[in-house]
Subunit: 340 residues, 2 copies
């Protein structure tokens, strides 16, 4: 029971035909008669034939594997996107290899290398915060391996991608804060190299201007967007006696940190300071008060990314990337207690 034999040759032998015929029958090749196909299928089932994907990958050059690279699967957003990709991929008989870059540049490069070596048929990626150099992605493109990016992208890469309208999401959130009375809104953001932070900041600024408020650089704070970073930034502005009555953070984790620190200092939320985050992480609805945030439409993003990817894979104009398609999704402002 150890060796899983059953090859197309076994089927062929049983039917007194050749392996090529069996192969064609299994692949539903029109050159084979329906009768033969039926017989082949029957015997295949009978002897429990399992196709050897490795052999087929070697010969055909198609591995039926697609690589997905995300910073971390441990975030609601990314795992939802992955689920969307997986669903479509599996239904088309593709397997997904998920690899995480943990926002480390070296790991991202290694992952790409490894995926190429594993001969994936294509790659879907959202790159890490440290990524400034895109040679590894260019290599993918040069090799004619279909590539689609989502969420975190770069303009210098002329590649199909699907992103969120981060600008709009930020604009809406900030506009909402202002409409609810905020006059001096702090903004937490991260390196401007990354499109999403750049766009969110732009949305923040434009919303202020549109409401006749001035953009005060002192209110724009840079840092990583983890919980701890949010705490640190908030401690800072409190220590520095910055005058503020609202915080719009580029990420939910950071705004969560802010909430903690504000409460520790006895500052009322939303009474004295109103908050809004970005990402709609589950915990934003667990906290007290619950946190207003922007939903990133992760499910749609996954679905659309996958669709775009397979379109590219099939419409495969000989590795020649056709026109790069860009899809921009509309975000949704989720209003909760922290901004009321």
């Amino acid at each position: 029971m150890k060796n899983n034999k059953a090859t197309i040759h076994d089927i062929a032998a049983k039917l007194n035909i050749t392996a090529s015929t069996v192969s064609r029958a299994l692949n539903n090749n029109p050159r084979i008669s329906d009768e033969t196909k039926k017989k082949v299928l029957k015997v295949a089932k009978q002897i429990n034939y399992q196709p050897n994907h490795i052999a087929s990958a070697l010969r055909s050059g198609k591995s039926k594997l697609i690589g997905v690279i995300v910073p971390t699967a441990n975030r609601n957003f990314f795992s939802s996107v992955i689920r969307g990709i997986e669903d479509l991929a599996n239904s088309l008989n593709y397997k997904v290899i998920i690899s995480q870059s943990y926002d480390e540049y070296d790991k991202e490069v290694q992952n790409i290398e490894a995926l190429i070596n594993a001969r994936v048929d294509g790659i879907i990626a959202s790159f890490g915060k440290m990524t400034e150099n895109f040679d590894h992605f260019h290599k993918v493109i040069e090799k004619g391996i279909p590539l689609v990016l989502f969420d975190r992208t770069a303009d210098v890469l002329d590649v199909s991608h699907v992103i969120l309208d981060d600008y709009l999401g930020a604009y809406q959130a900030v506009d909402h804060l202002i409409k609810n009375g905020c006059k001096r809104i702090v903004h937490f953001t991260n390196v401007q190299r990354i499109n999403i932070y750049r766009e969110r900041k732009r949305g923040y600024e434009d919303a202020l201007k549109a409401n006749g408020l001035e953009v005060d650089p002192a209110l724009i704070l840079y840092g990583n967007m983890q919980l701890e970073d949010g705490r640190k930034l908030t401690e800072e502005i409190i220590q520095n006696k910055v005058d503020f009555d609202g915080i719009f953070s580029s990420a939910d984790y950071a705004v969560m940190g802010a909430l903690q620190v504000l409460k520790e200092h006895g500052i009322a939320v939303p009474g004295q300071v109103k908050l809004a985050g970005f990402g709609n992480e589950p915990f934003t609805s667990f906290s007290d008060p619950t946190i207003t945030t922007v939903d990133q439409k992760s499910i749609s993003m996954g679905k659309i990314t996958a669709e775009m990817f397979f379109e590219m894979l099939n419409g495969n104009t000989n590795g020649q990337v056709a026109v790069a398609k860009k899809t921009i999704l509309k975000p949704e402002l989720i209003i909760r207690d922290s901004s009321k």
Copy 2:
């Protein structure tokens, strides 16, 4: 630039030796002289040779792929375990295919099939809540594919695994609640088919008994362990005017739901009711009050699981599983405000 040619034959041609020699040189076979190895390596680099894993997988029967099945990668615990596995695997030149069962039995079976078809060299899994039948795992074992389970296991499967001492974790949490004054502790649990819920319940019961308290079946509530389930169960006991002063939940999400409902009803936590969860999900330290919980040692679990797996893979006694090894990790009680 489209086709990535460079095979061992190209290297061989350049050096006027055969492909077999090149292959052996690249695999550091002792039968090849150091001089030849050096030359081969040099040319390989020079012409940018990338080994074709597919070809090697076909011939050698080793894909250098390992499959990991988890209910969902979207949970801190699982993603940490995955990270542990990935780290070791990558350092040994293995790639990890992550697949999620979403706690659906059918998906789990499909995933196993798909992994076997992808010719993974082994499988690491934690199965879903709906899994009662283990034929798909038996198939893996029969085929001689190394299998290691973690966290969610079944006694009927005589397979190496690493689990947490759920009994101890529960015991400590409940003992802690009692020491802090609780007399009537509600327990949230899930289907008893799953080892972890069974053990946690046992720990709960024994801790009560050891402290001279009786086990009241009316205080043991069954349900899924999502946030919503925790809310529902809590609403229920409040409606039914159940007398309780503590809740020990098998999962953090459910205890979070309980906290929300308690607050909505103006019941003070930890004043009137003290809480403890299980899992140490990040949000337990974000909530107000922060929630006492049991840490599952996910990092260690990932590391140990991977080590055990590769031991099995290498010590490969011809697919014949040696003795199933079982490792049990000690949990850690994290005391926070909800139980003070």
